[in-house]
Amino acid sequence: MLKITNLHASAGEKEILKGISLTVNAGEVHAIMGPNGSGKSTLAQVIAGHPGYEVTSGTIEYDGQDLLELEAEERAQAGVFLAFQYPIEIPGVTNAYFLRAAYNEIRKAHNQPELDPIEFLDVMEEKLKVVEMDASMMQRSVNAGFSGGEKKRNEILQMAVLEPKLAVLDETDSGLDIDALRIVAEGVNKLKRPDNATILVTHYQRLLNYIVPDHVHVLAGGRIIKSGGKELALELEAKGYDWLLEPVPA
């Protein structure tokens, strides 16, 4: 589904991603871990098409097409979803309105009829249950004045509504209380299907107790320095990253 080959990306003069290769198949869950500032969010943003990062070399193939050729909104319409590490506020625009606009754009891209506000209510109602969110949140402005945890949960609500093929969740677990973590994780699991895939960026093993990854990668200094199965996450939890970063003296 997603094939990243030797990806280099920079912001301004600064090179952040220094040759990333990663293959994600349909049905898989990949976890990306790694120290602060190692480039995890940058990778996520580059996949989503943030204009602030320039891809200097390498390729991203998604569903048989060249992802880098697509505008950010075209990627979203093609089923790529990024849950932001820091969700953005849009004052004055209700969550319900925003979600329906997004939902309809994606339907339009697939030549499906748009839903009016009343029809959309049914979709909403079902999805609100997935993340156990109160319907009153729908009448508030997008992320404005939301608590940190509410913002994260709102990202998952969007994901539930938009039903992406490839979801990239950037630290969606950070800032969640224990109940919210379980709800969000269960939400992600419920949305899992054989034909979609998830990339989880996280610092914490505890998320991986709920959402069991097929692969775990360690990103450091803009490179993937180690990949393994779910046990790698446990090892990282116990030992930290140092043993990976410093070559063992002979």
Binding site: P51, E73, I90, P91, V93, A101, A102, E105
Partner: protein, 477 residues
């Protein structure tokens, strides 16, 4: 360079067509003779001619204001035409007699003078160039005792009301443009709502400038008698022409004791092209006087015009009277707007609210100019002002000029102001959810304007929101 908010292309102005109708147009130029000629053509009574002449003489002694934060080539007042009327509109008995070309024009503009608005519960008065071409739903209104007609008709049919209130809120000597209007105004709308009557319909006037080189100078007078209430909407468009056109209107509102008047404007005059060629110069004086326990509320969505100079104001004359001003002003391309309000607190416990949202894109310059004045007797007066500016791109500007004068120390004034830029991050967030940049901007802007939009009558709120999308289209690359 990743800045997507840089490039600017203007979307075609969709109301820019010209209607081919026979007109009765007087030669350009402005002298006392012109004023007499206009008055004669309109078969006006002597008192009105006298009033016009006084205004004209006063105007000759006045100079154009230079304080607004706008710049434009000097206007040659002798080069304009001061009267142009579609020939077929002599005295109209019913809409059936209106020139079909004109009716078509209004259909094209989405303003059906016939069935449509009837269903929507809106009565429309359409002003084409300077003359009213038809007022709809008169009978329904008459049942309630509401008078809604063209200004000319009001002068003929209800001279005592016109004479009593004309100039009572905006005297002809008020300012340069008001004096000019008072001298040469050709038509406009008149509303009178009798004591205790709640007007059963939305009233709406639709202004259209068609003829070239013709100034439009309408005059609107709205009188809500004691305990009456009315909601009034004004819409405006004009053809695309390469030369600037002058529009200097006056609106006067009288809200007697306990009356409520809500006046909404969706102004979409042609703004000129992206190089600043053509477009309407809009110099408008709008003011209301609120008596005891009365309320006057101005809501405006200003998206068109090359230059906007406009300060809908409220004189809070009576105790406990309320004044409100809700405004969205958008400038794109080379548009310039200097707009705001004046709230003059005279009575005790008078209250005013000012919510101004300025949006600047392209190379547009947007200035808010607002005055809150509390006179010595206005004990307990309160004002809340919120003035927000949003910038789209790096070449536009937002400016704020608040003037506050308080002569009673029991008054409470609050002022909040903010300036924000539509961030790349907000746009990217929307894009990451499948919205393109233009959709993203219009969504973010609509959110920004929400407090104002919610003041508009339902059916026009949508229209305004769409209009905003149109005027900002092309403001991202």
């Amino acid at each position: 360079m990743s800045a997507t908010i840089e490039t600017l292309v203007n979307k075609e102005y969709q109301y820019g067509f010209v209607t081919d109708v026979d007109t009765d147009t007087i030669p350009p130029g402005l002298t006392e003779e012109t004023v007499r000629l206009i008055s004669k053509k309109k078969e006006e009574p002597e008192w009105l001619l006298e009033w016009r002449l006084k205004a004209f003489r006063r105007w000759q002694t006045m100079t154009e204001p230079t304080w607004p934060n706008v710049s434009y080539e000097p206007i040659d007042y002798q080069a304009h035409t001061y009267y142009s009327a579609p020939k077929s509109v002599k005295p109209l008995q019913s809409l059936d007699e209106v020139d079909p070309e004109l009716l078509k024009t209004y259909e094209k503009l989405g303003i059906s003078l016939t069935e449509q608005k009837r269903l929507a519960g809106v009565a429309v008065d359409a002003i084409f160039d300077s003359v009213s071409v038809g007022t709809t739903m008169k009978e329904e209104l008459a049942k309630a005792g509401v008078i809604f007609c063209s200004f000319g008709e009001a002068v003929r049919e209800h001279p005592e009301l016109v004479q009593k209130y004309l100039g009572s809120v905006v005297p002809y000597s008020d300012n340069f443009f008001a004096a000019l209007n008072s001298a040469v105004f050709s038509d406009g709308s008149f509303v009178y709502v009798p004591k205790g009557v709640k007007c059963p319909l939305e009233l709406s006037t639709y202004f259209r400038i068609n003829a070239a080189n013709t100034g439009q100078f309408e005059r609107t007078l709205i009188v809500a008698d004691e305990g009456a209430s009315v909601s009034y909407l004004e819409g405006c468009t004009a053809p695309k022409r390469d030369e600037h056109q002058l529009h200097a209107a006056v609106v006067e509102i009288v809200a007697l004791d306990r009356a409520t008047v809500k006046y909404s404007t969706v102004q979409n005059w042609y703004a000129g092209d992206s190089e600043g060629k053509g477009g309407i110069y809009n110099f408008v004086t709008k003011r209301g006087k609120a008596f005891t326990d009365a309320k006057i509320s101005w809501t405006q969505v200003e998206t068109g015009s090359a230059i906007t100079w406009k300060y809908p104001s409220v004189i809070l004359q009576g105790d406990n009277s309320v004044g409100e001003f809700y405004s969205v002003a958008v400038v794109n391309g080379k548009q310039q707007a200097d707009t705001g309000t004046k709230m003059i607190h005279i009575g005790r416990n008078t209250r005013s609210t000012i919510i101004s949202k300025g949006i600047s894109a392209g190379q547009g310059q947007n200035s808010y100019r607002g005055q809150v004045k509390v006179l010595p007797k206005a004990a307990g007066a309160r004002n809340y002002t919120q003035c927000d500016s949003m910038l789209i791109g790096n070449r536009c500007g937002a400016h704020t000029f608040p003037y506050i004068e308080v002569a009673n120390n029991s008054a409470t004034l609050e002022h909040e102001a903010s300036t924000s830029k539509i961030g790349e991050d907000q746009i990217f967030y929307c894009k990451a959810r499948g919205l393109n940049a233009e959709h993203a901007i219009s969504l973010i802007v609509a959110g920004f304007c929400k407090e104002v939009f919610k003041e508009l009558p339902m059916e026009f709120a949508l229209e305004a929101q769409q209009l905003l999308g149109i005027s900002l289209e092309g403001s991202v690359g």
